[in-house]
Symmetry: C2
DNA sequence: TCAAAAGTGTTGCCGGTACACCCATGG
DNA sequence: CCATGGGTGTACCGGCAACACTTTTGA
């Protein structure tokens, strides 16, 4: 019945240089000043939780285009003592975004940067939150079309395949991947345009409407 | 940065008479006095969230044997205005339990009872929470061995099959179901005993160790 | 010995993997 | 015309649904 303070913390993932990266901020104020942490902050008085997550993402990292990617609630962490400032409960969110220009540090952060996993030591219980977020992202890619959240608005099938290969550290057969993705209803939508480069030009696609697909859409290869 | 109050609310599901049922309490105090609601209450000052869920389940319903079933965090609901008493954020939990003797009403509830879905109108945003909980339960039964959480400590394969049939309102082939469940590693463990009745005695099983099984373990039939 | 429920063997189908092959462009 | 990457056709293989069949009890 006591009073709690509420924060949102964000596990922001993207693909950079063929590997899964997480967005971290360097704390500019105590506690844990100078250490790396997940971006986040206190929920405002009359603010919805989802809105707080979007706001913190923008304020602390300069990322505005959430619509391009994917944002969902991950889990709530409320162990007593997880924050030295007192009883602070954190609602964690998971964000999947296309690779963006270097983030800008916000008000409470002295720096914001992408880190390849597993990343450095983290403040609070953020290591645990990050682990849960990555696990959720890996799992969701198996039975949803969320891999496309890591891609820009228009992308080739090869780019989408690179996402799955990075998240699972595997290689997938390009031919079978192409067939699977283009024949599964609601996964991707063709734009009609093509991107030229070395070799035959690749058709460009947008994200399809479907998000959760009933049969598992793709599974990490066993090798 | 303001002060919040924190509650846990529980979506407690079981199978009764071949159908999915939810445990509801009739509110004994305002707001929404007299209406049905999910069991739950305020988190104590130095209490972990999971501990609060276990405590509320016991206090409001008399259910103590959580170890027999399954309890997991579902989602957190924090829209401003969801509670007329002020800014109250609720961490919802999902519990799957074997069918138990009629629950006893606790301190803040004038009655506690099982309701077949979809159940009556509910206080607060509990209708939404219930919908999310049922959806999660249905989804998890597809790719985990959690169906056994609805069964008592020892059960027959036919009883376990009845769980899946109730949750998905389908019929499953008894022969194929038996094979699938007994040959999948970690799903069930034989006790060596048998339960006699009409027809050939059925072998008794306990829950296996595995919870999340990588390949989807079972899917609702199409008919 | 019959009904009823438990449990096993077998077949055919469907979907996925592996891989040969064709297409379209730049150099 | 060759290298490079995009995209299609097809054969094999494993898992699952369907269902015939055997086992074990009570009445």
């Amino acid at each position: 019945m006591a009073a709690f303070r509420l924060t949102v913390d964000l596990v922001v993932l993207t693909i950079r240089a063929g590997a899964l990266n997480v967005l971290l901020v360097q704390r500019g104020i105590p506690p844990y000043q100078g250490e790396w942490a997940l971006p986040g902050g206190f929920v405002l008085d009359d603010e919805d939780l989802d809105a707080a997550a979007v706001r913190e993402l923008r304020e602390e990292t300069g990322v505005t285009a959430v619509g391009a990617g994917h944002l969902e609630q991950l889990r709530t962490y409320g162990a007593p003592g997880r924050d030295p400032r007192g009883r602070v409960v954190s609602v964690a969110y998971l964000a999947l975004l296309p690779d963006l220009p270097a983030p800008t540090a916000g008000s409470d952060a002295s720096g914001a940067a992408w880190h390849p996993l597993p990343g450095p030591c983290l403040a609070f219980d953020h290591r645990e939150i990050l682990r849960d977020g990555v696990e959720r992202a890996r799992a969701k890619l198996e039975y949803t079309s969320l891999g496309a959240a890591f891609c820009p608005a228009e992308f080739t099938i090869a780019e989408l395949r690179a996402v799955y290969e990075a998240v699972w550290h595997t290689t997938l057969d390009p031919r079978n991947f192409h067939r699977k993705v283009t024949t599964t209803d609601g996964f991707v939508a063709p734009t009609g345009e093509r991107r030229t480069g070395v070799g035959r030009p690749a058709e460009l696609f947008r994200r399809g409407e479907a998000e959760v697909l009933h049969p598992p859409i793709m599974r990490p290869a066993r090798t």
